[in-house]
Amino acid sequence: MIRVPARAKSKITALRRSASPDGARFTSADLEKIAERILKFSDARETEVEISSTTDALTRFANNTIHQNVAEHTLQVSVRAVVDGRTARAATNKTDDESLRRVCAAAARLAKNQPEYPELLPMLGPQKYQKTVRFFAATAEATPQDRARAVARVCKMAEKSKQIAAGIFSTGEVQSVLANSKGLVARNEETDAEFSVTILEPNSSGWAKANSPDVQEIQPDALAAVASRKSSDSRSPREVPPGHYTTILEPSAVLDLVGFLFYDFAGTAVLDKRSCFNDRMGKKLFGDNISIWDDVYHPLQAGPPYDGEGYPRHKVLLVDRGVPKNLVYARATARKMKSKPTGHGFALPNEYGEAPMNLVFSGGDKSVDDMIRSTERGILVTRLWYIREVDPYAKVLTGMTRDGTFLVENGRVAGGIRNFRFNQNILEMLSNVEMLGPAARAAGEESFEMVVPAMKVRDFHFSEVTKF
């Protein structure tokens, strides 16, 4: 029931801004100058520099008051050196000449002190990247007062309803540059805003959360109203016995479950035989209504259009109507697996290879209300919590429901119930999807943001019940 913000009304101001009066913010040009200095200081055969400047602020509230309110600025300068077929990385947050020379020397020293890595590929030369617009001035310029005023409204609303509000309102921006001694330069700038709210009553709670690059798309009052209604609708929860139920999972719940699949799509995970897709590629695993892409260019997605080596990210069809079709590959993995790089590699050196970080599920046209109306007896889940993998190949996950779990009877929400523990095979779950909502940018707690739909699934396995 979380409303997906309409993005059309937002005005994009992607002008590069000069450093703020306190000098804490860096522009892309500032970062490129630091990168140029490092490339001059390094005497390694090849050198790669990744620099990011992050400014984040977060206003945190509980018991209808702000109890934490923080801001941070961090700079990370990370240098990878290649020496005699070996590579290593060193990082600092200092930008004086001595520190930059030292970080170059540290990367080279680490590289020299390890066995040769025959599969190491030469660094990439200049690349072309598809443009993405993920920097919104309104987000970057949001003030503590802006966040506090919104939080104060939400707290007042909760007080008026004799409820208690807790949550966060955060805004931030990151500027980053990736450059190397072969002439590659990649730049990215993006902003991020997030509002999450839990509304509590003595024996119930409700929750809502939204995330967008554009703070103007975040509607704290509307989100708080959703959480408030869920809390009041789930008062005096009854205990329902555990078992297999038709279950309606709102997008946040779907996100936190399917998020556990993302690394299984890595070529390296299959090479290492730790993917649930080992020996299952090309076989029908899910229902016809499940297709999954990795698509950083999707309008509801986030992140840079290049990977950790600066290779351009490609859109990849991972699952086609229930059949896992493709994996993603870093450059070295692609060579090992006789495939083509897809632009999903992590910064080198690393042991994990790559992963799709921008999953987009195919959706449907059913609303959560449609799902409820069509359900004779089932469970409606707002949010899941503390999800962990029980069986990596069967892909059994365990976790808890939280902050708004309801019994559905005869097409209507019949009231709140005590929270369940689930132990669910996710491969089976994606074969049992009866209805899908429109794919939305969902925000949860266990996974990074993805574009996923609400789902109505058969036979979801709730194994135990807790005391609230």
Binding site: E72, H73, D391, R421
Partner: protein, 486 residues
Amino acid sequence: MMQDWANWGIETAKLRGATYADARVMDIRQRDISTKNGEVGNLMETETLGIGIRVVASGAWGFASTDRLTREGVQACAAQAVAIAKASALARRKNVALAPEQAHVDTWQNPYLKDPFRIAVERQIDLLLAADKDMRRVKGVTLAEGSMSFRRIDQLFVSSTGSSIHQLKMQSGAGMVATSYAGSEIQKRSYPNSFGGQHTLQGYELIESLDLVGHAQRTGEEAVALHSAAQCPEGTGTIILGASQLSLQIHESIGHPIELDRVLGQEANFAGMSFLTVDKLRKLQYGSEIVNVVADARLAHGPGLGTFAYDDEGVPAQCTPIITNGLFTGYLSNRETAAAIGETRSSGTMRTESWNRLPIIRMTNVSLNPGTWNYEDLIADTDDAILMETNRSWSIDDRRYQFQFSTEIGWEIKNGKIARMIKNPSYSGITTEFWNNCNAICSRDHWTLWGTPNCGKGQPMQTMGTGHGAAPARFGNIKLGAAFAK
């Protein structure tokens, strides 16, 4: 310079109207090494230096941090912290009140024998690769992984009430994992623990004491043998938990629920709350009478990841009785939450991940005190049970009642003897019922202070290391096998 930076921040905050201010300057150096299937995976060194300034102004909290360590940069950061505090006052119900704490001026460093940053990287890599090779010698091991990490934290705390505390901490950690994929199953074994192995406030002497190479072959053999082991039964029965698994049980079902910020609702939106409401203090029978748990940050407790001399609010390390003969007797608190429940002093548990993050209540070393049993006697005394070792999955609800754990390996105990291997062991229950079913705890000879390096809490999320001492212990009437039930 650290003292100058901190002083600039405190002075500026006071000039801008702060009624209280503290500053943490932290200089952190880290080395991470990993290997996989005979090759180096990650090899990285990181250094980070900055200042975090926390203030009370207009009766509300503000915090800002920066790595721009010029006078202007630090002063701008302090001014920003005050401006944020004044914004916080827009949604303030009452003024911040802190339990009293006297000023402390001190210097402290944890003892260690060998500086891991002075040990050649080549030697560290060679050790991991030797263990990797021995794991892969075992037919059926499809993935061998090893890791080491070292962290040196040089930090200065200065407060507007006169404290100036310099601490230097050295942490080390290492571990390895053998994974085997066969048929339709992935099994794995970790040594000496999952979560990257063992981590303590020590130097390289920890790594040498672990003898990774000496345990590599057995680790690989057990991973492969699990494929042909019997499945953990479903039902109700007795379990004996190995010390490392019990340390995580303590972490999740005692350590988190005793955090007073959770109890008072401050973590309601993310980490959750706690069933340990303040009316339960000194009234709830948390466990059986043999259960005694302390939160002990003092060096005397051991070189745990929760060991220090002062917390990040300038409060000295303490030992707080958490469970005394089964009775719930104490919380983890800070100056603000202690005052909120009428306690006269913080229990000294405010900790921050780095200079850019606000200190929050964190576990220190939350440990189960040793019991009286010799391990061999405990096994001999047990007719029918499953011994479960090394955590594989873990989950607990947001008020810390209902949990489910599974471990990498189990062993059937029949008639006082360890019998066949069990795969996919799991157990679940309700926290207080579980601890009240504890009927035997092994002695100090079997007690280990385990390090959990990856505890996440707070918004923005902070990762913190915590310590948990435990010896193997036995629990009756436990639900078994729910994780794998169909």
